[in-house]
């Protein structure tokens, strides 16, 4: 087999249906974009490269820690399991999620890398970490300079660069936090109703509303970086911990119910008598929801009129 002229510069950056990778030839850079069954190639001659811009992206440590905590809580559900299959499932899936977050943190800060030629501005997707970008630049910069020489001074006719920083654009506040707080209050009302009327079908709706709570809280926390109302998101983050606590007890109750129903010949009666949370746990769930919902709504209102 003939020796290839290409030398690997970066690892494959995998996506759902393919990957992209950078390779270097003696006189050009090759960007390979694969859709698994077909590869597309883009070549950039070193003599034509005008600039390479690496921009470090905002860190997402809060989101990473939130996901890791959620994964740990998920793994903790294994403690409530009786059988080895259930324990293994929760432990393995939780450990995988924690490992994914750990790998993401260990890979270091994220970045975007753009390559400029006279006719294009191309995003080099495989260069997505600062560490990779440093290695990439250490290899590419000498090759481009060997083809073009060094730029001793900026061209006389420099492109348009506005003076000073751009004007501050006020971020528009979304209504997602308010929605989350209203959902807390609705769930508190549902929980109270299920406590007052234990035989009513209200309890059956709770797993669904709990799930909606979790999804909305996670989405709200992921979008928190765009907003300036930090205190509201601190309330939501605290609520997430309480949701984890409720979820743990709810999961334990569900598992106990399923095990008991498997043993009984007529599980229908068991279903109607099911209480998702014990009395003390239910009181706690109602209390924190009312507190978080009320405080959150008041703070959201105050921040809007301020």
């Amino acid at each position: 087999m003939a020796k290839s002229i290409y030398r690997r510069l970066t690892r494959r950056r995998r996506a759902l249906f393919g990957y992209s990778q950078l390779w270097a030839a003696p006189d050009h850079l090759l960007l390979v974009q694969s859709s698994r069954f077909v590869e597309n190639y883009q070549r950039f001659a070193f003599a034509d490269v005008q600039a390479i811009v690496v921009t470090e992206r905002r860190d997402r440590l809060v989101a990473q820690i939130s996901i890791a905590l959620a994964a740990i809580l998920w793994s903790a559900a294994a403690l409530a399991m009786q059988g080895w299959f259930g324990r293994g499932f929760f432990l393995i899936t939780g450990a995988l999620a924690v490992a994914a977050v750990a790998v993401d943190i260990l890979r270091g800060p994220r970045c975007r890398c753009h390559l400029y030629t006279a006719v294009s501005r191309e995003l080099l997707a495989p260069v997505d970490r600062v560490r990779t970008a440093k290695r990439f630049l250490a290899e590419i910069r000498p090759a481009v300079e060997a083809a073009q020489g060094r730029l001793e001074q900026a061209p006389v006719e420099t492109p348009f660069t506005p003076a000073g920083a751009p004007p501050e654009i006020p971020a528009a506040h979304g209504y997602l936090p308010e929605l989350v707080f209203v959902l807390f209050l609705i769930d508190a009302a549902l929980l109270l109703a299920s406590l007052r009327f234990p035989r009513s079908p209200v309890a059956g709706a709770l797993p669904t509303t709990f799930f909606a709570e979790i999804v909305l809280v996670i989405v709200a926390l992921l979008r928190a970086g765009r907003e300036s109302r930090r205190v509201i998101y601190a309330v939501i983050a605290a609520a997430l911990v309480c949701i984890g606590w409720d979820g743990f007890h709810l999961g334990r109750s569900l598992i106990a119910l399923s095990l008991e129903s498997a043993r009984r010949p007529h599980p229908e009666a068991l279903m109607t008598a099911w209480e998702p949370l014990a009395h003390g746990e239910a009181i706690f769930a109602v209390a924190w929801r009312i507190a978080a919902g009320t405080v959150g709504l008041v703070m959201a209102y105050l921040s809007r009129i301020a």
Binding site: Y6, V49, V53, Y116
Partner: protein, 193 residues
Amino acid sequence: MTQAICCGECSWPVPAELWNWDGNREEGAHCPGCRAPLDVSVFPAISRARAGPLPQALEAESEASCFYHTESRAVAPCDQCGRFLCGLCDIEMDGKHFCPACFNRSAHVETRRTLYDSIALALATFPLALFWPAIFGAPAALYVVIRRWNAPLSIVPRTRVRFYLAALFALAELAGAGFLIWAFVRVPRLGPS
């Protein structure tokens, strides 16, 4: 005018003072727009003119004209077909001059390749997830392996291991299918007779 070098986060133009920022300085370069840390490497090609030479109009009837633009003065003949070319049509590459037609014919720059080894491997493995479709997937995978064995792989280094694996899986699946058919036909049915 040269094109603006922009921040990758906010697209705010990066001023020339931040180009090729010396990494030894205490504070790194930051985008004036979003304050994101930047590393801007700019090379001499930034000052290269974007447009090529413009064609010149004929001044006398005795002057040679471009084959494609009869009112433009020829500046060079095509090294492939000999046609006269104006400044617009002349494509210079490695010291040689080409007309657009000859450049298109001679340039063999691949921008796309089909990866038959990956297709064969997918045909051999994906249908196996649904079990019965493997009866069709395995022969199809074998066909692709045999038919496309000599087809060029990726232009970057890549081994034929996917072809080998696809053939191995496909043969194993066919053998398994054959065994199952034999078992159904040969083994006497159990139960009360």
